[in-house]
Amino acid sequence: MSQSNTTEGGDDVLSIRELKLKFHTYAGEVSALDGIRLSIRKGELFGLVGESGCGKSVTALAIAGLLPPNAEITGGDVILDGKNVLALKPEEMRLARLKDIAMIFQDPMTYLNPVLTIGSQMAEITRAEPKLFISILITHRLRQIDKQVDSAKPDRGLLAERESLTAALDSQNLGRKELDQLTRSYAISLLKSVRLPEPEKVYKMYPFELSGGMRQRVMIAMAMMRRPKLLLADEITTALDVTVQAQILRLLKDLRSEINTSVLLITHDLAIVAEVCDRVAVMYAGNIVEVAEVDELFRNPLHPYTKGLLASVPRADLARTPDSIEGSVPDLLSPPSGCRFHPRCPKAFETCPSKKPSMIAVAPNHYVSCFLYGG
């Protein structure tokens, strides 16, 4: 394989190299990831797009260490901020999930606890490992105090609080009561920043009292609470109506510029990628077939699968009958030989069934895995 679609360097928050993954099932071994590589830069909104069963969600689960027991990683590395996530011990992985990697899923109701209020679920995060959050909580409160002190005449109470918090920040020590208080004000300000109306009220509500869009906002607030290095967002708008989807996508764009977190946005919808992402990787049957900047990919798609996928997307802004890709997604119990797209590919030739193409750079920041381009 040639030199990577990655600029291996300080800029990458995440880099995945040659990741291979199998599922053991009664029917046999499913080769779900067939040596994928990708890298996500700091502060980037990276789209991972593909049809169902292509391995996009499995990729996210592998990064977060949430694979089901019948999954086996048979090769490759997942490097998050310089550390190989795959080599972490379970306890280290737990801490990484608590702090560095946050994940939001398609159906927020499944991931919120129905018998706890939003507030207590948010508080659980800091209580689980207060040490990880002391600095975040105190600096957040200090900033709040600074704002208030500047605008009015000095308030003795606030000044005293500032002093004691600064001391706590130095000693990294905080009582349970203070921790809970700080968490509460931090959580409410986050609920506000995800544009929930009346955040104090939402803080005391139960998940069933919220609509789907509001629940997804709560999930985003809970993810942001950790100031994660990487946010994995798996089909987060698929269950939502289009007007609410637009609200959530807009929020995601706004937040990204506010908190500078890298986001891996997983979706089956190319329109969402076009709307919000910086770069995008197209997946097919356990392989990444093309990686490019979003503008470039839509203007100049190279891989026959990317072309087919783009042509098959119906558009609301143009009258155009979509073209389809003949055939259907292969069964990964017995994946096609060579390039996995060759049975459906209109441009396939004799090399395609016999050899797996490698990822090559066709332009700066544009990588494709296809023999048509020398792969």
């Binding site: 807009r250 329109a271 609301a316 009258a319």
Partner: protein, 336 residues
């Protein structure tokens, strides 16, 4: 209206009785609340809206799969809203439905052959079983599968193939009118395009009329001749698809269209102008349904607006004709 009307509803309503809380009084969830619509022979009419707007209930009500609570349905000029038994069965042969989830609408223990034969035999489409068999073989090829597939079970097929089978089953009784309820929503986009093409081909071949129900504006744009937009049980706007997408007149349609992401980064726009969620359909007040989320609402919107023909063949349920660029509005006359 031009063309012959194949199906027409007048003030069609479906209310579900509900109790909110334990001791509260009985109220109604107004899933469909007075929809008057006519579908022309040979056209594809799109019915689009967000979840809970009543589009599926409307489809089920005109098929008489749920009993309408009010209004009437005319099919080929005949009021079918009160039909029962044999006369209903006679009408049902002409109208069929394809559902969203092909996994749920096929009997897992029946081979494809019997799935296709059963409706033909029930409705006595053919004079002999052998003829029905031939028709089934013909149909399965028409939907892009082959005769070997007839002896297989549903679990042996992919989602797209299953949807082809349900389409074949719907066409087995030679209907003239087919309700397609989100027929491609559970399919991947490359397969969706295959099914949309198939539906188009079959429509031309058999001269079918479609009611195409979907939440996906992009799909509606590609397949429908005219489009109706529903919101909270009412029809907000009805026009030729091209007109509706390029020159929407109702503020809800406008908001819906600006919310749809475009698969073209060079046309990126500011998404989302509409705040909040769709309100509950339980105990809706009599004002305009969209009032709470509408950026243009006035006191006048406390009264439910009538359906007005704002341009030729372009109907909206709104008090105003709004210019969305300048925000200028012209009051529409009540009596039209």
């Amino acid at each position: 209206m031009e063309g012959t009307t194949i199906l027409e509803t007048t003030g069609l309503a479906k209310w579900y009785p509900v109790r909110v809380g334990r001791f509260s009084e009985k109220t109604y969830l107004r899933a469909v609340d007075g929809v008057s619509l006519s579908i022309r022979k040979g056209e594809t009419l799109g019915l689009v809206g967000e979840s809970g707007c009543g589009k599926t209930t409307f489809g089920r009500a005109i098929m008489r799969l749920t009993e309408p609570s009010g209004g009437s349905i005319f099919f080929d000029g005949e009021d079918i809203s009160k039909l029962h038994g044999r006369s209903l069965k006679r009408v049902r042969r002409k109208m069929q439905m394809v559902f969203q989830d092909p996994y749920a609408s096929l009997d897992p223990r029946q081979r494809v052959r019997s799935t296709l034969l059963e409706p033909m035999l029930i409705h006595k489409i053919t004079s002999s079983k052998a003829e029905a068999e031939r028709l089934a073989e013909d149909l399965i090829e028409k939907v892009g599968l082959n005769q070997d597939h007839l002896s297989r079970f549903p679990h042996e097929f992919s989602g797209g193939q299953r949807q082809r089978i349900t389409i074949a089953a719907a066409l087995a009784v030679k209907p003239t009118f087919v309700v397609l309820d989100e027929p491609t929503s559970s399919l991947d986009v490359s397969v969706q395009a295959q099914i949309l093409r198939l539906l188009k081909k079959l429509q031309e071949e058999f001269g079918l009329t479609y009611l195409f129900i979907s939440h996906n504006m992009a799909v509606i744009r590609q397949v429908c001749d005219r489009t109706a937009v529903m919101y909270l049980g009412r029809m907000m706007e009805l026009a030729d698809t091209k007109t509706l997408f390029e020159n929407p007149k109702h503020p809800y349609t406008k908001a819906l269209l600006t919310s749809v992401p475009t698969p073209d980064p060079s046309r990126r726009k500011e998404l989302a102008v509409l705040e909040g969620d769709v309100p509950s359909a339980i105990g809706i007040p009599v004002d305009c349904r969209f009032r709470g989320r509408c950026a243009f609402a006035t006191d006048k919107c406390g009264v439910s607006p009538p359906l007005v023909e704002v341009e030729k063949n372009h109907w909206i349920e709104c008090h105003y004709d709004i210019d969305f660029d300048s925000h200028a509005r012209r009051e529409l006359r009540q009596e039209s």
